[in-house]
């Protein structure tokens, strides 16, 4: 696994489309000198810009950084944070860290399953709500914690999570 950093820039691979968000991705790769070590940072940029990693984006990143597609796919599927499917309109991330577990996180997941009929990593058929879990968000002092569209909320109750999910479903 030891490969010395590349010293020569490869010729640039054209972006999959004219979408301006690809400039952000190119900027990340350029900042890291188009080295193979930039793979994870670049995939983060792609996901932040486009919401998930689809096949054309994986191919583009792999070719640009001169890594094999299997390696890019291996990295994309290894790290829990990367999504290979689009998310719903709204995302709820329930923390399943130890403190949150002790303070009732399983009941929050059960409440979501009851009202939206989805389990972690699933999206509702109308594409409105996705449910994910995080292993620990580091806000244990206010457990149980959930993130609603990027907003961290502490001391969440089953009643509150159901209310927020229903609001999303009814929009």
């Amino acid at each position: 696994m030891i490969s010395p950093p590349q010293t020569k820039l490869p010729s640039l691979v054209p972006a999959p489309s004219a979408d301006k968000r690809w400039h952000l991705v190119s900027a990340t790769m350029r900042r890291h000198g188009y080295k193979p070590g930039a793979l994870i940072e670049t995939l983060h940029t792609v996901q932040n810009a486009f919401g998930y990693l689809d096949e054309p984006s994986l191919i583009h990143v792999a070719r640009s950084l001169r890594v094999s597609l299997s390696k890019a796919y291996g990295v994309a599927t290894f790290y829990n944070i990367f999504r290979l499917k689009p998310q719903g309109l709204h995302t709820c991330v329930a923390c399943l860290g130890t403190a949150c577990y002790i303070k009732g996180a399983p009941k929050l997941l059960a409440a979501v399953e009851l009202c939206a009929h989805i389990r972690p990593t699933e999206t509702t058929p109308d594409n409105k709500v996705s449910l994910e879990i995080a292993r620990c968000l580091g806000a244990c002092g206010i457990a149980p914690v959930a993130v609603f569209d990027g907003q961290v909320v502490g001391n969440v109750t089953p009643v509150e999570i159901e209310k927020r999910i229903r609001q999303w479903l009814e929009r």
Binding site: P36, G74, T98, C100, A134, R135, G138, G141
Partner: protein
């Protein structure tokens, strides 16, 4: 956030001790003009309780009252008692307000300092505050984390200056070794010893890595230190780089900590602007550049060889050791990896000396440790105590004990590689050796309190499920062993297991512990072994009586396999 008047021409590039002192003096003079300084905690937990709105509301109120010359509103750091977020501290009166809402701004600005607002006032003389020993968190969140000037004003970067201009690298290594500091990531390896090995390596390219992955569920100490004192961590890394001969550093932060990443990136830019990072630091020949690298939600990347693999752009697969990263790490070069808290201890050790540090703690475990106290305890939050403090003092004095109507059962330390300590051992002093002798582990500092509403078999199953899903898959004992152990634990919690299953579970624990490639697999059986050691009666109740004494797997007294409908 701070748009209030700044004094004189600003010193930016710090080229000498005089420049550093000038920045400190200017900042101290600037702060002295205010009668009151109000800090609103802007850590993740307080922000999630809308402390941002409180900060805005206070700033607006100060403007409306025309009090900008005498009252400075600043974002601050963690006060510790996160369960009572949002927290607001008023200095120099040392008033702490808890559960503050945006609508309380007028009352806070208008109330006289000697008459604290009753409904918001938090007693800073309570044991939660007075029984701690703050060293890493010595500034108590009373710094704007984004302003390097404030860090310099409280003595920041003096240690780096001292190291670069008055000490040879070997002397810095010796000082850290004499201090007795041990790695705060969990394993407790003597820090000075590790630094010495990397320093002696003859390679011209060396690296310093700060492990900010903090994957242990229930741990958030590193997050707080990164968010609140980013300059302190950077200073520690820079001193380490000087000591071992590195010119490049990486801060590997888990992606679940976006605020910490943002604070570090702001701090990096400020440090570069002030010549406290980058080329020719303090006008010496020493140069050090730091890059941030994001994790991807993989617990195994907290293991140093997996972390290195991740920085190299690959999956987080551990590699056998030796060779250790100190000899052959990132891209095959000697690499020093230390935890956030280890780095954060360094400036104080250089400033106050090894003897000062070694005077705190126990014989083999020097200094203090931050802990993330959470779970079924009254005062949850971030605490720091001298090593050697007893668990009882932490949970019952500082933590305030368990909720009314419940009985303490166990405290879990060390994350998924740790164990549960029951009441009988609460008077043991916390240090690396005693926790190990109790079947637990210091770990990074997560401390989760459990009471009679927790089923210890269910807790063991929770940790095993975590390890099974986080296993990188490289070695069979961990990849397959954790799944099998989880299956058996699941069977037990469903009341379907037999004594033979229990025997097989114990055998698997042994096999996985001693034949796994890395710490994830080696530590995975620990929660099971520890709960079997102290709570075997609960396992036997599930197996022989098909009941769950805690009433978690099924209502109390009922057969788990056939619970009566309790909807």
């Amino acid at each position: 956030m701070n748009n209030q008047l700044q004094p004189g021409p600003k010193v930016e590039a710090v080229l000498s001790a005089e420049d550093l002192q000038m920045i400190a003096d200017q900042e101290i003079t600037h702060q002295a003009q205010f009668k009151r300084r109000i800090f609103v905690c802007m850590g993740t937990a307080c922000q999630s309780s809308q402390s941002g709105d409180v900060l805005k509301s206070l700033s607006t109120t100060v403007k409306e009252r025309g009090l900008e010359q005498e009252c400075l509103i600043s974002p601050g750091g963690c006060q510790g008692n996160c369960a009572q977020a949002p927290l607001v501290s008023i200095q120099p009166q040392d008033l702490l307000y808890r559960g503050v809402k945006a609508g309380d701004a007028a009352a806070i600005i208008d109330s006289p300092s000697d008459k604290p607002i009753k409904g918001l006032h938090c007693d800073t003389q309570a044991p939660f505050f007075t029984q701690q020993k703050r060293m890493v968190t010595e500034y108590r969140g009373l710094l704007n984390p984004e302003r390097i000037e404030e860090y310099i004003a409280v003595g920041g970067y003096k240690a780096l200056l001292d190291a670069l201009t008055t000490k040879a690298p070997e002397q810095v290594v010796q000082e850290v070794t004499r201090s007795g500091l041990r790695g705060r990531g969990g394993a407790g390896y003597p820090t000075g010893l590790k630094w010495g090995i990397v320093a002696k390596a003859t390679d011209t390219q060396k690296y310093v890595i700060c492990n900010a992955d903090e994957g242990d569920p229930g741990a958030f100490m590193n997050r707080s230190v990164l968010e609140d004192y980013p300059f302190r961590v950077l200073e520690g890394m820079t001193i380490a780089a000087y000591a071992i001969g590195a010119n490049k550093g990486y801060m590997y932060v888990r992606a679940e900590y976006p605020l910490a990443v943002q604070r570090i990136e702001t701090a990096l830019r400020a440090a570069h602007r002030h010549n406290l990072l980058g080329s020719n630091i303090f006008n010496t020949s020493f140069s050090f550049h730091i890059e941030v690298r994001l994790g991807g939600g993989a617990f195994v990347c907290g293991e140093e060889t997996a972390l290195i693999s991740s920085i190299e752009g690959g999956r987080g697969l551990p590699t056998p050791r030796p060779p250790y990263p100190a000899q052959s790490g990132l891209w095959g070069h000697p690499t020093l990896i230390n935890n956030v808290e280890t780095h954060a201890n360094i400036p104080a050790i250089i400033r106050h000396g090894a003897d000062w540090f070694a005077s705190i703690g126990t014989e083999k475990s020097k200094g203090t440790k931050t802990f993330a106290l959470s779970g079924r305890v009254k005062n949850t939050g971030l605490i720091e105590v001298a090593l050697g403090t007893t668990l009882r003092k932490i949970i019952f004095d500082i933590g305030g004990g368990v909720a009314e109507g419940h009985r303490f059962k166990a405290v879990q330390t060390g994350g998924p590689a740790g164990g549960c300590v029951p009441e009988a051992h609460l008077d043991m002093p916390i240090d690396y050796e005693t926790l190990q002798s109790l079947g637990s582990f210091m770990g990074s500092g997560g401390m989760i309190v459990m009471d009679d509403s927790s089923c210890m078999v269910d807790v063991a199953k929770f940790f095993m499920q975590f390890c099974a899903s986080e296993s990188c898959g490289k070695c069979i004992p961990c990849r397959v062993g954790t799944v099998h152990m989880h299956d058996i634990l699941n069977k037990i919690t469903q009341g379907e297991a037999t004594q033979a299953d229990l025997a097989q579970l114990e055998e698997l624990c042994d096999m996985v512990k001693y034949t796994s490639l890395c710490g994830l697999g080696m530590g995975a059986p620990n929660p099971v072994l520890s709960t079997l050691r102290y709570f075997k009666d609960e396992y036997l109740a599930h197996i022989n009586d098909h009941t769950c004494p805690a009433g978690v797997c099924a209502p109390k007294g009922q057969d788990i396999r056939r619970p009566t409908c309790a909807l």
